[in-house]
Symmetry: D2
Subunit: 221 residues, 4 copies
């Protein structure tokens, strides 16, 4: 069993709950309230900025040049390409650039990004990877399941979303992160692997809370 398989098993209940989540199922069959999806788009936009910071700190800390290079590429990709795609996609759902610029993080978005950025800034590189894998692999697993079981016809207003997270590019990213995690775990002590599991589980839980937050359109009041 690879270390990622161990991680996946450790967080199995949480990941199962994602797949059963009304937000995720609503994307799959196209019945999700547009308003809830717009809420997700806005929060995901501010999430992306801190997600980019995680790549930045990872690049700043990595010992291996190859790993630095990959994180540099990811960082540049998120900030200089994907955020523009995100803005275009949000525009299709009636959200303007100005609106995106003015988004305030919701409590759960704040919690999740603070966890990621704290881990990136204070933690070791293996811990950073353990925090990131659920973002990559988790979205891929959701994307792939929805691509199989969901409505991918033109009737589904969220079909592009499903397509993106089940794409080959996204799979490559997820695979790269898993291989890096497995490689790093081979060099880790037992106590370090325990910590990595905790980090993975915390990210997995915060992913779940992010779906809750979006479905309930959480705010600070």
């Amino acid at each position: 069993m690879t270390f990622c398989e161990e991680l996946r098993e450790e967080a199995s209940d949480i990941w199962d709950t994602w797949h059963e989540h009304p937000f995720v199922k609503g994307i799959g069959d196209g019945t999700l309230d547009k308003e809830k999806f717009q809420y997700w788009l806005r929060q995901d936009y501010v999430y992306l900025i801190d997600y980019a910071r995680v790549f930045a700190f990872a690049a700043g800390k990595a010992n291996e040049l190859k790993v630095m290079q990959k994180f540099a590429e990811l960082l540049d990709g998120v900030l200089n390409t994907e955020m523009q795609l995100h803005r275009s996609y949000a525009a299709k759902f009636g959200i303007s650039d100005e609106e995106l610029e003015g988004v305030e993080k919701s409590p759960t978005c704040q919690a999740y990004t603070d966890f990621l950025v704290r881990t990136a800034s204070v933690g070791t590189l293996p811990e950073i990877i353990a925090a990131l894998v659920p973002c990559f692999w988790g979205f891929l697993e959701i994307g792939e399941r929805l691509a199989e079981t969901g409505d991918t016809s033109e009737n589904n207003p969220y079909r592009d979303w499903i397509e993106m997270y089940s794409s080959d590019e996204f799979e490559d990213l997820s695979e790269w992160s898993k291989e890096l995690m497995n490689q790093m775990a081979r060099d880790a002590s037992e106590s370090e692997r325990e910590r990595l599991k905790e980090v993975f589980v915390t990210s997995s839980r915060l992913e779940l809370k992010f779906w809750d937050m979006s479905y309930e359109m959480e705010d600070w009041e």
Copy 2:
């Protein structure tokens, strides 16, 4: 108006909500469920460890020797004195050291400490102070109000708590942090002061959520 007065005004609604919170009022009149208080003690214990990290990063980043020295003293005080007091105090409420060592952070405790440690690790010293002031000043304000309006007789099982947070030592700490904040704000640009306000408000909101969490005995399920 000092900068701290501006901050206090900015977060006025949130701070008012603290004072009206059933957890805080229950400490004041002694009616709070013991179980809820035990929950708070456990979470506060793990909170303290990360709170200490904030002092550590502040000491590591401060330019002025005097500020480094104060944070070094606070850090040593929390880890080598206060945590022991906390353990003794928790023991009076039937919580053993072993139980404290095994506490898992609740979602809100995780969120609040991640915000503090992220700010400490990534942010500037003024931002770190802005994140800390609500912890110092807020608890003092609560302590002082309860000392005036609450039940401070021996009938109140929480009278020691009220005494601690309305003590002269705690007031000195709060005053020190406010003076440091005011001094740093004098050197800050308008946009920096805006950021400091945001940090202060976020800490204030997370303080409120910490009371909610304790009252509801929140867990990850």
Copy 3:
């Protein structure tokens, strides 16, 4: 007088010494020992890796999205494009990729990169910029002076070097960093501006020591 002009004046003697340095003059007239230049190429290669880390931490810390984006672009550019150019250029001077991979930092390269990375990791964004400006602007000033006064014929084995550091692209980079510095200085207090000057002077001094190191082919013995 802009803040950058103030900085330039503060470090005027140091910058003058660069221009008179035998290493720099030897590039200008083509008389520099090939062996000394090879030494510089090897040390500059390992320098670049840490230089990239500075961009990474800057991207991780910047508040403005525009600034994050620029540092992300620079980071990706250095690691995924310029290092390859550097390897090709080094190959022309008989240095293989394997040799580059195995370079050990000399004392001065260690000192300079540790200063930059420490500043990037512990300091504020304005401090990071103050540490970087001498690398950008200083090399541009050297490149431009040599383009005017040096030998830019095919007889000079270092003409490509002169061309690179006097190019429009390099000028744009230098201008961008100066504008960012000036903008940040406008928001800085007097004491903060003093710190920025110290950082700028330290980087300028370490640039000078880097020329000394290369001319003397310094090692740890």
Copy 4:
């Protein structure tokens, strides 16, 4: 062979050179120029401030409470006790507090402290310990050898120095750091142990340069 013994062997030549250094021997037999010792006292004072930062970052990063506590104690000890002792000691050699406050780091002091603080801020806890062990253990070894072979009569103006670095307290500190290093090395992979050796050797080299710097009364010109 413990990991610390391996480290000691790796840096054996460098440590031998310390013991033969004219600055160290001059302390041993009391013949060192007072002016050179004063120079050392001034640079050691500014060194201590950054040395304290290393303890601060270590406390901020440690996972184990016991390790955090020890670093908190060390940090408080250095900043709130030892620096005062240092000032008193410097006063005996005619250096005023004002003079100490105004010291500018020499190039080597800058290099060494930047290496330590960079490692503390960017590195892992084992790397931080590997950077610190030569400061603790190295001074103890020097102190103990001089206590055996040097002039410890009242004729030696530096006898207090020898006494301090051969004291039981200092030995305890050195032992603690070595035990922590050995413990961390047991959990480290082969490649991580290689990195720890590099860090240890770099600190050892910079210790040596610190003696050179003091003997030559180095400045930036």
